[in-house]
Symmetry: C2
Subunit: 214 residues, 2 copies
Amino acid sequence: MKPSTPTHQTWKPGTLLYPVPVVLVGCGARDEKPNLITVAWAGIVCSDPPMLSVSIRPERHSHGIISRTRAFTVNQVTRDLVRAADWCGVKSGRLVDKFREMGLTPVRASRVDAPLVAQSPMQLECRVEAIHRLGTHDLFLAEILAVNVDERHIDRHSGALRFPGTQPVCFGHGAYYALGECLGTFGHSVRKAKGPPGPRRPIPPGRGRPEAAP
Amino acid sequence: MKPSTPTHQTWKPGTLLYPVPVVLVGCGARDEKPNLITVAWAGIVCSDPPMLSVSIRPERHSHGIISRTRAFTVNQVTRDLVRAADWCGVKSGRLVDKFREMGLTPVRASRVDAPLVAQSPMQLECRVEAIHRLGTHDLFLAEILAVNVDERHIDRHSGALRFPGTQPVCFGHGAYYALGECLGTFGHSVRKAKGPPGPRRPIPPGRGRPEAAP
């Protein structure tokens, strides 16, 4: 094994894992003002039960709400929602009504006591299972109890999600990006050669993950 | 608040948080065969100390290695590395030498006892701080101790990372995608209007995050 990489500079530690998701997290109990916080420190952490994590600074308004209600929603950011997501990431719900200011519609979630963003095509309803203090951020581990998908993005015949049609957005090194070209589907490297990877076929929800056991 | 979303179908719970990163995780102590596993259940969990998480099934070969060495590397997948990443996600290091089979070069990390992928432009060296059992997957919480960046992607004058030039890849609903159009930089919604968001300006490492406090 080579002892070093002459092609690389070693930098001091930083959060340079890219791209990451960017999501609108909805919170607030039934009897209070619905709130939003934009989070890029988010990800799936378990397939079954389906779980995700979001990390939030203790000083953020939403941190207190979610710690109390133990519930939040995760709403996919689309191209049309980038400006709202950016704004909800820098403003505080202590001072403004983010739903109203951004023209977003709060909708009650079916399984948890938190608001969904009606304009988002993919909404996850999450129940907090554990909170871990890490440093600047606390890690909220949550089970996904329900998934709401905009019917306009569901194929009528197969019932599958037409994912690229949702116009998803990701975040990397200080900027928001649309998705680009499809570079192949999960498992393409071990399928019999049929030419270069083409456009993806519809895949049922929850199928096709790089971390799946061989 | 509206009581329901007539535009959405409610599905049973699933891991529909997209897009997510896809990374090559390197593991294996100095005196053993270097190994790789591809992980999409990965994300940043804390800014300071810089920390990330990866989730791995206990039955995977890499799970045993990382549990023992408490060390791994996270190597950004690029367009050129998609096929290798896909292959390393479905094969087992118990049976094959993934570095050799994919023509990848293992390089010793400087701060942890694990191999880097020389061909990856951005490599994170990680020390495991905690392991949490969740269900199908165990969550590895790790501190990022060093970041190695390919000099070809560093601007000579500013010293900043030219991120889109690394040709990053993300994962969503069973397929790998390139990054597309830049939709704006962090904070664009509160800056004085100067026309539509243009190409991003270089941002020093670790700057510019949606979850930053207002």
